[in-house]
């Protein structure tokens, strides 16, 4: 301890006392990594299942459609479902951490997983091909709406689709924002932990 600190200043004396750094227990860190892996796996499985359902459903409707434009739209929606499956596998499915990983490796692994998911969540519009989904939906809905203009009663058939679309858009952005916020909070938590482990 340096000797130049004034002997009668308790704050300086207190703040300059020697301290020992505490390392985060490895078990706790591994538990955290495993927890994140399990969560990511469930999330990836749900996304993959949803993508497959969307893909099969629209492929089936595509095969039954008669007009060209809606058929192309349905085909596009089916491909979007397939792309969603691939992107979920690529960006959300967790990689494996070796059982003998050191604390540093575990920390780096945890960080890279969080960053990968944050990257996917922040670019989900592009990565999941949501623009193509909307284009496909427009190709299916717009010709139907144009045909229905002659009879307003037929137009009512499209109301549920438009309501669902509006609900989805209203829910999508707040959920995405919350998810990004949570991932950033985990990364901040990790920064705190890394600084304490140095």
């Amino acid at each position: 301890m340096p000797s130049e600190y004034p002997m009668n200043d308790p704050q300086t004396i207190w703040q300059n006392q020697p301290t020992e750094p505490l390392k985060m227990p490895e078990n706790e860190l591994r538990r955290k990594v495993r927890q994140r892996q399990a969560k990511a796996r469930i999330q990836a499985l749900v996304s993959i299942a949803l993508g497959l359902i969307v893909c099969v459903f629209f492929a089936w409707t595509c095969a039954r459609a008669h007009e060209l434009l809606p058929r192309l739209g349905l085909g596009l929606l089916s491909l979007c479902g397939l792309n969603f499956v691939y992107q979920a596998y690529r960006w959300i499915w967790p990689r494996n951490l070796g059982p003998d990983a050191t604390v540093n490796v575990s920390l780096q692994f945890y960080r890279s997983e969080l960053e990968r998911q944050r990257d996917y969540a922040s670019h989900i519009w592009r990565r999941a091909g949501l623009s193509f989904c909307l284009l496909g939906l427009a190709m299916v809905v717009v010709p139907g709406v144009i045909h229905s203009l002659k009879s307003p009663r037929l137009l009512m058939n499209f109301v549920p689709v438009l309501v669902l679309l509006a609900i989805w858009l209203a829910v999508f952005f707040p959920i995405r924002k919350r998810k990004l916020h949570n991932l950033q909070q985990h990364l901040d938590e990790l920064n705190l932990l890394e600084k304490d482990n140095r």
Partner: protein, 159 residues
């Protein structure tokens, strides 16, 4: 980031090195577990201290033998066996005096004195303890008086 401050905080609550290490580990684990609930309504520093003090206070309260002897800063007579007017001859001796003083305080006053020694202002200490800033300012004033008597007229931060 707050490693050394948390180590000092643990020292204020536990003198035994092994028990202190356990306490410090418990504080880190609690911070780690409750970080997801940090809602940014206060600064990260205030939040870290609040969680850490709560864990440490629980640790002190569990030790009934010690708890019965703890007093408030208002009822503190200066440490027996030391001459308050005399300047400490070494850093270690000075630190020991502060530590002994802290060890005699009840958890709430301990939170205040440790936060004060860490250089926090009354508003931050109020955020940690849940007391009003005016109440904290009054307590800090008393703490300064006690420390001044303990360290001689030169300090601390004589107004």
């Amino acid at each position: 980031m707050y490693g050394p401050s948390l180590d000092r905080l643990a020292r204020a609550y536990e003198l035994d090195p092994d028990a202190r290490r356990d306490l410090l580990q418990e504080i880190h684990l609690q911070l780690w577990r409750s970080f997801a609930h940090f809602d940014q309504r206060c600064s990260l520093r205030t939040w870290v201290y609040r969680v850490a003090h709560n864990v440490a206070a629980r640790h002190t309260i569990r030790q009934r033998r010690i708890r019965s002897r703890l007093v408030a800063i208002e009822h503190l007579d200066l440490l027996s066996g030391s001459d308050p007017g005399e300047l400490a001859v070494s850093q270690n001796q000075a630190l020991e005096r502060v530590s002994m003083l802290i060890q005699r305080l009840n958890p709430l006053d301990r939170q205040i004195i440790v936060s004060y020694l860490e250089g926090m202002d009354a508003a931050s200490i109020a955020g940690i303890t849940g007391l009003s800033p005016a109440n904290v300012a009054m307590k800090v004033h008393r703490i300064k008086n006690v420390l001044r008597r303990l360290f001689g007229e030169g300090g601390p931060h004589a107004e």
